[in-house]
Symmetry: C2
Subunit: 217 residues, 2 copies
Amino acid sequence: MRLYSYFRSSASFRVRIALALKKLDYEYAAIQLVKNEQLQPAFRAIAASQLVPALVVDDPAHGEATLTQSLAIIEYLDETFPEPPLLPADALGRARVRAIALDIACEIHPLDNLRVLRYLQRELKVSDDDKDRWYRHWVETGLDVVERGLADHPSTGRFCHGDRPGLADCVLVPQIFNAQRMQCRLDHVPTVMRIFAACMAEPAFAQTQPSACPDAA
Amino acid sequence: MRLYSYFRSSASFRVRIALALKKLDYEYAAIQLVKNEQLQPAFRAIAASQLVPALVVDDPAHGEATLTQSLAIIEYLDETFPEPPLLPADALGRARVRAIALDIACEIHPLDNLRVLRYLQRELKVSDDDKDRWYRHWVETGLDVVERGLADHPSTGRFCHGDRPGLADCVLVPQIFNAQRMQCRLDHVPTVMRIFAACMAEPAFAQTQPSACPDAA
């Protein structure tokens, strides 16, 4: 497998964690977002969206194929390499885990990614201060929703769902890295931060964090 | 089942289509977003995210439960009521369908939903013209990505994946409704529009469209 990744891309980080939890080997192909490598024709031919991550797999049924969208990639990995499972066995548990992942992947992350921040600055002439305030607003209000879904829920364990890391944790941890880098407030989300600490004690998370990537600055 | 929905919410529309494709009966509970009913304590107790849709189900294993996040809800429905399937049988096909759905649900829709547009206007003092330009920018560039993933792909059929409507179509059609309402350019996405027309010829899509909802203005 070959993963097109950028060390600071939180969507790439999600997939790196999932690959590490599954103990899968892969080639790391760095796409430097700050140099706009994702906009070059060579990468556009790999991913129409011009977004990382993309994962090239040798599918058992169809041969070589390129997968995009981090959550779709992780679901594919979970279906193709079932151990350890990243989703619970019951449909209701799976719905909960997917909803936590989507609360971050749909409600927080898209508002704060690089192309959106660039549009705010270049097209709407938003000031740096207002851009940072925008960033923190969606992170802080979005994580508050995640916190309320985790705190006191009977299925929350050492990790987002039970005592084994899964899809929701793969999405939560990279978002906290972004939040910390942008100095967002995090004292209102104690359950989130407890789970973050539990994840970072696991090699699959620690060894795939941005600073551990081959392309880390 | 009880669906908390708003007639114009495209995330609600996705779930309405899936419920109709599965021929499942449900009670329709209107949440008027323009009146901010989603921000009231009564609804916050149902959905921490204060976003529609939310679906109350009687889970076979766990009893009454409330599901949130449209894509997680649709996956739950597909697992719990398998016929007709909304995802392909093969892992690679499922990854493709989920990626198309996420190309819309993560890259287009979050940027154009009501709370984001309100933030642009109220907090960043963006003009109405610039707000509309922002809206159209993400729809038009985002649909271009979807078009490139559909056009000439061997798995694209009468619908996004093969000749039966599925998850990707449930997400695509509501986005086109939004695009048309905001007068976005659509002449650059002919495959998208061909599939949109095929969907709208199906009762499950036509009968759940915003104007057909009990709370339509």
